[in-house]
């Protein structure tokens, strides 16, 4: 501005500059908040407020619709902790928990391979990430057809001459959770894969060159260069895996509705709220799940502290 204006006396300039810098400082301080105000309102309106409501409901006995809620204090929490059958569903989470390690292992494997020079690299990246982009309901239905008797899986086994391995993949109560957690691996591996790949690609390529000059093989490069440099991402994936396996919902709910021993904690909570109209108890269960996830995250952070990666 002053570029084009006529010269003014120095002290006036200084005064103007001071005034401007005061306003500027205020604006500088306020700018991030002004940008944040909309998302913050959304956060309060759509996350914090409902969570607050849920916590309040968890102290009441309410059927979800009546105008009056009865305050029962810790009654719902006491009921939950005195009913062991409500805990038993966490055993189902173990299947998904184990599966999530398989999932991370596979993701890490593919991410490492595809970070080196591989033929059809981008095609494979696409194929691996693709399932994550598909709507969960569509995946549920696809796999319902895949697992049904005479469905895709049985037909493929027959084509390979492996009829003796044909099973009731969902009908057999010993197998159903393997089938469902397998579906979950298929669906979510793409996400882990992309996270790992991104982290691996940020590793300075000269390190590989230097290590191979020193005679390191691919395994040693993975062990001593790649793995240490993506540790934060592995830690993050671990937290996501644990909380994810405690809160499994979509796949079993769509495919079996929790029948035949595939009931998970979240499905149980939904049933409690909407089938048995015990919104108070269901809210308490949701709060407990939240606390468990927070606790596990905290323990995990204590056991595996977040270190700054420094390879140089």
């Amino acid at each position: 501005m002053s570029f084009f204006s006529t010269p003014v006396r120095p002290h006036a300039v200084r005064a103007a500059r001071d005034a401007r810098s005061g306003r500027q400082r205020f604006l500088q301080g306020a700018t991030p908040w002004l940008f944040l105000i909309v998302p913050l309102i959304f956060l309060c309106l759509f996350t914090l407020l409902p969570v607050g409501n849920m916590i309040w409901y968890s102290f009441t006995e309410w059927n979800g619709l009546s105008k009056d809620k009865e305050y029962v204090g810790l009654g719902n929490y006491i009921e939950f902790f005195t009913r062991p059958e409500l805990f038993r569903v966490f055993l189902v989470s173990l299947y998904y928990f184990v599966a999530s390690f398989v999932q991370m292992g596979l993701a890490l494997y593919f991410a490492t391979i595809l970070s080196f020079n591989t033929r059809f690299k981008n095609l494979f990246k696409g194929i691996l990430f693709f399932p994550y982009l598909i709507n969960g309901v569509a995946i549920g239905f696809t796999f319902l057809y895949f697992f049904r008797p005479g469905g895709t899986l049985d037909a493929s086994l027959a084509a390979l001459g492996l009829e003796q391995f044909q099973q009731q993949w969902l009908g057999n109560p010993d197998l159903i959770n393997f089938s469902l957690s397998g579906t979950s691996v298929w669906r979510y591996m793409g996400l882990n894969f992309v996270l790992f790949l991104g982290a691996i690609q940020s590793v300075n390529p000269s390190l590989y060159e230097a290590s191979s000059l020193d005679g390191a093989g691919k395994w040693q490069q993975f062990r001593y260069i790649i793995l240490p440099s993506i540790r934060p991402i592995v830690g993050l994936s671990m937290i996501l895996a644990i909380s994810g396996s405690l809160a499994v919902f979509e796949i079993p709910y769509i495919m079996t509705g929790g029948a035949n021993g595939s009931m998970t904690f979240v499905i149980q909570t939904i049933n409690m709220a909407f089938k048995f109209n015990k919104v108070g108890l269901a809210s308490a269960m949701a709060v407990i799940l939240l606390l468990i996830v927070l606790l596990i995250t905290w323990i995990q952070r204590r056991l595996v502290p977040d270190e700054k990666v420094n390879l140089t």
Binding site: L65, K67, P149, Q168, L170, G257, A259, K275, F276
Partner: protein
């Protein structure tokens, strides 16, 4: 994706039908502190008010909203030129509307969700008139959707209950007569299994809600109109001779004999309609609303038959008839007169019930063609006795406290699982467990 929508539409609409029967009895009993509903004279006043304005009608029939309902709209608007009708079709009707009712904006005319307790009706719906008065003209008024002597909804249609079956499959198997006892029914299923390629009895386990259709048979099985109310007086509904024992034993025995689908966890409702119609399925337990859908999916509509639950009392079959969803008026509506006109017109003139093969909500309405099999079999219809005052919700309260879920598929899925060997329980184990949960819940509810 299209498939999925279709399946969900089917599931929701049918779920609606399924649950309709229990709506009347859900309530939390004590209405002492609820403000008394305005007297019926208010309603007649508003009925005399001008029938005009715009009304929004909520419906669960996403499949009919652009076709059949569009015709209703033009017929209605021809009669009442000052009214403009708008429809809002909702796929997950039950879930979505119950949630929306915490606001004021839930249409002018809506189907009363089944999850609303009777004692909450005055807070949400406009009374349509006294039960005594309306029950002179309409069915299901006394037994459903009323509170404190006021009626809050008129059924859109009514259903009988029984089993849809493929006549050709049954005659190919060598069966000539409707089974009259559960034992005979099991024998017939075995004959279908032995003599045809069809699945004798299809449970539709995976979709879940079709399993709750069995619940509608209670009362009809033992010809006891008071059967549901009596649940509140017993500690053991699953003991020999009671409705639940007979119904659930029938399911268990059929599954234990391997006369249900091979892998119940992967059933498919849409597919099952075609399979019944083309003779791949022998029978399914469904309300009479399903007959029209089955006929539409069949090679030859004449193959589809309807039989009562295989149990006779004094040599006669009985079938419970109950109202489907009820049309009610939003208490916050601004055009209540027009909304009322729509409800009356829908029950009296739209012909919806007859077109859908259901029982007319009017006492003088025609008997649908779909139930001519029942006429031939001499089936007697039963309307369940409404619960006594102050106990409107007792049965559902006990059920909720027991977490059994008479109207949710879970406990019958458990029965099927145990019968086919996927759970380590005998029939008696399950019935004992259900009985003890019921007794415990009954004690806690009745305090």
């Amino acid at each position: 994706m299209k498939m999925r929508t279709a399946a969900m539409v089917a599931a929701t609409t049918s779920l609606a039908f399924t649950l309709a029967a229990c709506s009347g009895s859900s309530d939390n009993g004590d209405g002492s502190n609820t403000p008394a509903p305005e007297s019926s004279s208010t309603t007649s006043d508003s009925a005399m008010a001008e029938v005009a304005g715009e009304i929004t009608v909520l419906t669960n029939r996403t499949d009919l909203v652009d076709t059949v309902f569009a015709d209703y709209k033009s017929a209605f608007e021809a009669k009442y030129p000052d009214v403009e009708v708008k429809f809002e079709a909702i796929t997950d009707y039950e879930g979505e509307v119950a949630t929306r009712m915490s606001t004021d904006d839930y249409g002018d005319v809506l189907l009363i969700p089944n999850s609303v307790n009777a004692s909450d009706y005055p807070d949400f719906f406009e009374p349509l008139g006294s039960v005594d008065e309306l029950s002179q003209t309409y069915r299901f008024i006394g037994s459903e959707a009323n509170y404190d002597g006021q009626s809050y909804g008129i059924a859109i249609t009514g259903n009988a209950n029984g089993l849809v079956y493929n006549k050709k499959v049954w005659s190919d198997a060598g069966i000539t007569e409707d089974p009259t006892t559960p034992e005979e029914f099991q024998k017939d299923l075995q004959m279908i299994a032995d003599n045809t390629d069809a699945t004798p009895l299809y449970t539709n386990y995976a979709d879940g809600w079709p399993l709750t259709q069995w619940e509608s048979d209670r009362g009809g099985v033992t010809a006891n109109a008071n059967a549901v109310n009596e649940l509140a007086d017993t500690d053991a509904p699953w003991s020999e001779g009671m409705d639940h024992y007979i119904i659930d034993s029938l399911i268990f025995d059929a599954a234990a004999a391997g006369n249900i689908e091979e892998d119940p966890t992967t059933t498919n409702w849409e597919q099952s309609k075609t399979d019944l119609g083309t003779g791949k399925i022998g029978a399914m337990a469904l309300g009479s609303w399903a007959i029209v859908q089955m006929q539409a999916a069949a090679d030859d509509a004449a193959d589809i038959g309807y039989m009562p639950f295989p149990n006779q009392v004094d040599g006669t079959f009985h079938s419970v008839i109950s109202g489907d969803y009820k049309n009610g008026i939003n208490v916050h509506s601004e055009n209540k007169a027009a909304a009322r006109a729509w409800i009356d017109w829908f029950a009296d003139e739209s012909g919806y019930a007859t077109d859908q093969g259901g029982i007319s909500p009017r006492l003088d309405g025609p008997t649908p063609d779909t139930l001519k099999d029942f006429d031939a079999a001499g089936v007697e219809y039963i309307e369940l006795t409404p619960p006594p005052a102050g106990k409107e919700s007792l049965v559902s309260d006990i059920d909720n406290a027991a977490e059994i879920g008479l109207w949710s598929p879970d406990y019958r899925q458990r029965i099927v699982d145990a019968a086919r060997g996927a759970r380590d329980e005998t029939k008696q184990d399950i019935f004992d467990d259900l009985n003890s949960k019921w007794a415990e819940a009954r004690a806690s509810v009745e305090g």
